[in-house]
């Protein structure tokens, strides 16, 4: 389990990446998928997930579909067309960021990454 400090800021790219792959997901499904994919190293809490999903909905990045499941309503989250664009940009940026991090934290730090 990674510390909160490190996970902070990765939540949004993770959720958007999952929605990009799976078309539509509900909240519990997202938390389980992250748990499975990271072998329990990253646990998304409800307290972080739902506020973020609601914010993304308000920003028009995702939209929701309601469906009756048994005796309750399930809300599915999916990317809007403009949300798909934004997701692509964010994921590209995030992949680039990870490459930079990898360079910084490699042994024998060499200056000049990205300028060559």
């Amino acid at each position: 389990m990674y510390s909160k400090e490190i996970i902070k800021g990765t939540l949004k790219p993770i959720i958007l990446k999952l929605l990009q792959e799976k078309e539509r997901m509900y909240g519990y499904e997202i938390t389980q998928a992250v748990k499975d994919l990271t072998a329990d190293k990253i646990k998304i809490t409800e307290g972080a997930l739902y506020p973020l999903l609601h914010k993304l909905e308000a920003e028009g990045v995702v939209f929701t579909e309601k469906e009756n499941i048994g005796k309750r309503v399930r809300k599915y989250y999916a990317l809007t067309p403009s949300g798909k664009e934004k997701t692509k940009e964010l994921i590209d940026e995030f992949v680039d960021f990870m490459a930079t991090m990898k360079h910084i934290f490699e042994p024998n730090l060499q200056p000049g990454y990205g300028t060559a």
Partner: protein, 237 residues
């Protein structure tokens, strides 16, 4: 795959309500989430009651109202961005009204366009959206009444000015509608509210009296202008 019965879903819903989750959209999310957790434990052979108490422990019921607060916090950040847009439009509106009137007095070209754009924006965009933002933060009914009647007066008086300027019929209805809303609804509610809430009662009354003086000035200057025009017309005859 276990499937919760109606009364079981209801008992989880009551749990959410009792822990302060009142925002409907979030209720649906959290209800489904808790139900999924409970069902998964029931699939592993536990009874409903046991699954529920384990799930609530994992979930941490005391965090529920915090989840709602965090949601509201993120959503109001969005609202603040909207406020910036409205604020910018409001400044543009004020500038075009002021510039329009100065242009008009100096007989510069473009005065008509500036004035009509300014008052139309004020009446149809700026005042309604500012009213929306103000109402969102208010829960007291007297305060809400004052906000609605105050902005309504602003909208009507802006429209009245536009109609007068364009020589459209209906000026009087708009003008007196605005004045009546201002004097007979807004001012009493506003005075009542500020008298009750402000510490300095004299100051509260003084503010209301100043607003009243402003309204009387607008009303009188219109009457004087009409009077002057009537005299000028009589002289011309």
């Amino acid at each position: 795959m276990a499937q919760l019965k109606q009364h079981q879903v209801d008992s989880i819903y009551d749990l959410l309500l009792n822990h302060g989750v009142s925002y409907e959209s979030l209720q649906l999310d959290l209800l489904d989430h808790m139900c999924c957790m409970v069902e998964q434990k029931m699939d592993n052979g536990l009874e409903f009651e046991e699954s529920l108490s384990l799930s609530t422990q994992e979930f941490g019921l005391s965090h529920l109202s915090e989840i709602q607060e965090a949601t509201f916090h993120l959503l109001t950040l969005k609202l603040n961005k909207m406020k910036k847009v409205v604020g910018t439009v409001a400044i543009l509106t004020a500038v075009s009204v002021i510039a329009g009137i100065i242009f008009k007095m100096n007989h510069y070209p473009g005065a008509g366009l500036l004035i009509s754009v300014g008052f139309t924006l004020a009446a149809l965009a700026v005042f309604p959206s500012m009213m929306y933002f103000d109402l969102k933060n208010q829960s007291n009914w007297v305060q809400k009444g004052a906000t609605i009647s105050g902005y309504l007066a602003g909208m009507l008086l802006s429209m009245a000015t536009l109609f007068k300027f364009m020589h459209w019929p209906g000026f009087f209805m708009l003008y007196y509608g605005g004045l009546i809303s201002m004097v007979f609804i807004f001012l009493p509610l506003y005075t009542f509210r500020s008298y009750k809430t402000q510490e300095n009662k004299l100051f509260a009354l003084a503010k209301s009296m100043l607003i009243m003086a402003g309204v009387v000035t607008i009303w009188a200057s219109y009457r004087i202008a009409e009077h002057a025009r009537a005299i000028a017309e009589m002289a011309a005859q």
